[in-house]
């Protein structure tokens, strides 16, 4: 497959997954902000949300206070924020447009329709009542696109690069959502186990559609350790870090390009480490530290995927052979 085609497919999927997870992250933050906590400074959770996404500088340059209204607008509809849901959907659609001949027409039409609706929503604006509906809409459109990919596409490298984008972005985003909790909760031991704590953890679970799963698996009260275990190490959870890494590893082995040795080695190592660890080790190291390391690994994998498959210079290891042949 053309490197640029693979690149577009991968970013199409990543951008859409990002749009979905941004909606999920905003949703959890909104839920948390509704739980009044006198101890916290105003807008604390919205500030946290911005810093996790790495977008606080851009926000501060153009907005006043990080109020719910401002941050929601910035993260959902802002045309100038490259990480807004609006722009993620735009990127997904532009990448799809570049490879519309490679994806199925259903896939393209769904993404194109999503973009056309997004433009309309942006133009109309979203009021307070509409925000939850909007998050639902974003999730539904992402579900739809993934469903179409599953239901219509040939299981070839096209499909694999799309899936690779899905799972790599999801691994990154789930880790960030889990990290929201760290940024929001003041490290005050007396809060732990309190009512606010319970609601915050359950908001995290709900935001990644895992509240029901938690109940099924643990049949017990919600504790930070179990939520973390569920979202990091449970292989049967659709959005957990380990199941994302499992998928990424499987896909990379199936793709196995002539220039992917370093990539595979790094991914295999991460995969092995995750399978060898348990939640107590992770808590001993510190959840935030563990997640930061994980995000760095995902970043490095993304970088290696670039050099292995989307090489953009005319230097390629196999070129010397081509020349002598």
């Amino acid at each position: 497959m053309l490197s640029s085609t693979a690149d577009h497919l991968y970013w199409m999927a990543r951008s859409l997954e990002r749009a979905e997870n941004t909606a999920r992250m905003l949703d959890v933050t909104l839920r948390m902000s509704l739980l009044k906590q006198v101890l916290l400074e105003p807008h604390h959770e919205w500030r946290a949300m911005l810093s996790i996404s790495g977008l606080h500088e851009d926000f501060e340059a153009r907005y006043d206070v990080p109020s719910a209204e401002n941050v929601l607008h910035f993260m959902a509809l802002d045309l100038q924020n490259p990480g807004s849901i609006y722009n993620s959907i735009y990127k997904a659609r532009e990448n799809a447009r570049a490879v519309r001949g490679t994806i199925t027409s259903e896939m393209w039409e769904a993404l194109n329709a999503t973009w056309l609706q997004m433009k309309q929503i942006q133009a109309d604006g979203i009021d307070e009542d509409g925000i939850s509906k909007f998050f639902e809409w974003v999730k539904e459109r992402a579900h739809l696109s993934r469903g179409i990919a599953h239901g219509t596409m040939l299981r070839d490298d096209t499909f694999r690069f799309i899936r690779l984008g899905n799972f790599l972005e999801r691994a990154d985003n789930t880790a960030r959502i889990l990290d929201v909790k760290y940024h929001i909760l003041l490290p005050s031991p007396k809060d732990i186990g309190g009512a606010a704590d319970y609601y915050q953890w359950s908001a995290v679970l709900r935001s990644v559609s895992s509240f029901e799963s938690y109940r099924k698996i643990y049949r017990d009260q919600i504790t930070p350790k179990r939520v973390s275990e569920l979202l990091i190490l449970r292989q049967d959870m659709a959005r957990s870090l380990i199941s994302c890494v499992n998928e990424v590893q499987r896909l990379l082995h199936e793709l196995d390009g002539p220039n992917s040795a370093a990539l595979l080695a790094r991914c295999d190592a991460l995969h092995a480490r995750m399978h060898a660890t348990n939640i107590n080790d992770i808590f001993e190291q510190g959840l935030h530290e563990y997640l930061s390391e994980f995000l760095e690994e995902i970043y490095q994998l993304g970088d290696l995927i670039n050099t292995s498959y989307f090489w953009s210079t005319d230097e390629h290891p196999s070129l010397s052979q081509t020349q002598t042949a």
Binding site: M1, L2, S3, S4, T5, A6, Y90, E94, R97, A98, R100, G101, T102, S105, W108, E109, N112, A113, L116, D157, F161, L255, G257, P258, N259, Y309, W311, S312, D314, H316, P317, S318, L319, T322, Q323
Partner: protein, 474 residues
């Protein structure tokens, strides 16, 4: 002005024979149904993103080309003659291109003045002596035909221009048919309409037949300037329909006079490039130095015969307006036959007699700059003011040989849905002629329609629309 030739109605108002079945169907069709179907077509085109972009607007405008649901119908016999004429014309044009980049027999024979060819900016010196597979230069030709009453002839077809560089529009021909079959499936059971859906197969076969020597399984690609090009939809469409890769300049590179594309499996050799980039932008090492669209070294690989470009470099000399007048002579010279299709009568202002006549009749004529295109440097006498005509006269007098002139033809009309109902609008026709080891084409082509009342401009950038084109089989 006399009423233009109408495709559907004879001058006495009777429906022409080949339109009778369609007309009786249309008559029975309630207006609400038509309105609903027209809306459905718009929605479907929009959803499918069958749009054209406007240059320089990255994010904003993607427009639909208006699609009209009344087809343009051509009887079988009429098409047969047209097809013969097109084959003959394209054969001659390819022979001409091979000749002028090799022995230049037509110049030696004194049939075309040397100056008009060698002094023409469209003549590519770089191509002299370069051999191309099968001697084919214009692999894809989009020949614009118009129909008009002129002099004593009624409804005669004329070739308006031969587009031999990167003619576009064929995707609309295919999408229009698909849309008509989707909207009005019953119409196609009422009469036999010649299919056009196999065009991409013919195109791929044609491309494969001109692969470099020794290549048995050629890797064919479509080269696009990128997704902000106005015809980008068509580029993706054709690549997808042929099942080949769509590439831009960044996907390709040249090593040892061989073209490769970057793939996830490493470099892969490219054998045939259906390029939709103009000559000037193909290779910054040889042509426009500032081109970001092309591939450095591409021309060296081409000269070495390691890659085929379709169309070839340098075809612009054969569809230049100064050369147009000589096409009938080319047909006689290379094919030894009389031309089947007529040229529009043309005055060459480089000739003193012609120039004198034209200057006396500016108000009636269309005057065109020889290398101009897209309506630039053009005077349409009947719709111009006295001042505009006088200004143009001054330009002509400064360099007469830079101009040709033609009578203002009243292009034929076809009934078309407009805001006020169904009304006649002017149309043209662009059939696509494919040349490889042999010449192939699908019946019909793209019919463009000028949606503004009285307008003769069918270009999509200026409010033109399109129609499905039916060639009847019987």
């Amino acid at each position: 002005m006399k009423k233009a030739y109408d495709e559907m109605y004879a001058p006495d108002g009777a429906v022409r024979e080949h339109y009778k079945r369609y007309a009786s169907w249309l008559q029975k069709m309630p207006n609400e149904v038509i309105t609903r179907k027209r809306k459905a077509a718009d929605v479907a085109f929009h959803r499918a993103g069958i749009t054209f972009a406007v240059y320089g607007e990255a994010n904003s405008k993607e427009r639909l080309i208006p699609f009209d649901i009344v087809p343009r119908i051509i009887p079988a016999l009429e098409w047969q003659r047209m097809e013969q004429g097109l084959r003959q014309r394209v054969r001659a044009l390819n022979a001409f291109l091979h000749d002028i980049y090799h022995d230049q027999e037509i110049i030696k024979a004194g049939r075309i003045p040397a100056q008009q060819i060698l002094g023409n900016s469209q003549f590519r010196k770089e191509m002299v002596g370069v051999d191309v597979p099968e001697g084919i230069y214009a692999h894809i030709a989009g020949v614009d035909l118009v129909r008009a009453d002129h002099g004593t002839t009624e409804g005669e077809y004329y070739v308006l221009e031969d587009n031999l560089r990167t003619p576009s529009g064929v995707s609309y021909m295919l999408e229009n048919r698909k849309m008509m079959m989707r909207l009005f499936p019953d119409l196609f059971t009422r009469q036999q309409v010649a299919p056009v859906e196999h065009y991409p197969d013919l195109l791929l076969n044609s491309m494969r037949s001109v692969a470099p020597k020794g290549v048995t399984e050629p890797n064919v690609v479509v080269l696009t300037p990128g997704q902000y090009n106005s015809a980008y939809f068509e580029h993706t469409f054709l690549a997808q329909q042929m099942g080949v890769d769509l590439v831009d300049g960044n996907d390709l590179f040249v090593r040892n006079e061989t073209v490769y594309m970057r793939t996830t499996e490493g470099p892969r050799r490219v054998d045939v490039i259906y390029r939709r980039i103009d000559d000037d932008f193909l290779d910054p090492q040889v042509f426009n130095k500032d081109s970001m669209l092309g591939v450095p070294g591409l021309f060296s690989a081409y000269r070495a015969g390691n890659v085929t470009l379709a169309n070839a470099v340098g075809t612009g000399i054969a569809d230049d307006k100064a050369i147009y007048v000589h096409v009938p002579e080319m047909i006689r010279f290379y094919c030894g036959e009389e031309p089947i299709l007529s040229n529009v009568p043309t005055w060459e202002l480089s000739k003193a007699d012609d120039c004198k006549y034209v200057l006396e009749h500016l108000a009636e004529l269309v005057v065109k700059e020889v290398h101009g295109s897209g309506g630039y440097g053009m005077l349409v006498g009947p719709t111009s003011s006295k001042q505009e005509i006088e200004d143009f006269r001054a330009k002509i007098l400064a360099e007469p040989s830079n101009y040709i002139a033609q009578p203002t033809l009243a292009l034929s009309t076809c009934p078309t849905y407009v805001d006020s109902g169904v009304a006649p609008r002017h149309i043209d026709l662009r059939p696509y002629v494919l040349s490889g080891k042999e010449i192939t084409m699908v019946p019909g082509g793209l019919t463009r329609v000028a949606l503004k009342e009285g307008s003769l401009v069918v270009n999509s950038s200026q409010g033109g629309g399109t129609k499905d084109t039916w060639v009847l089989e019987n």
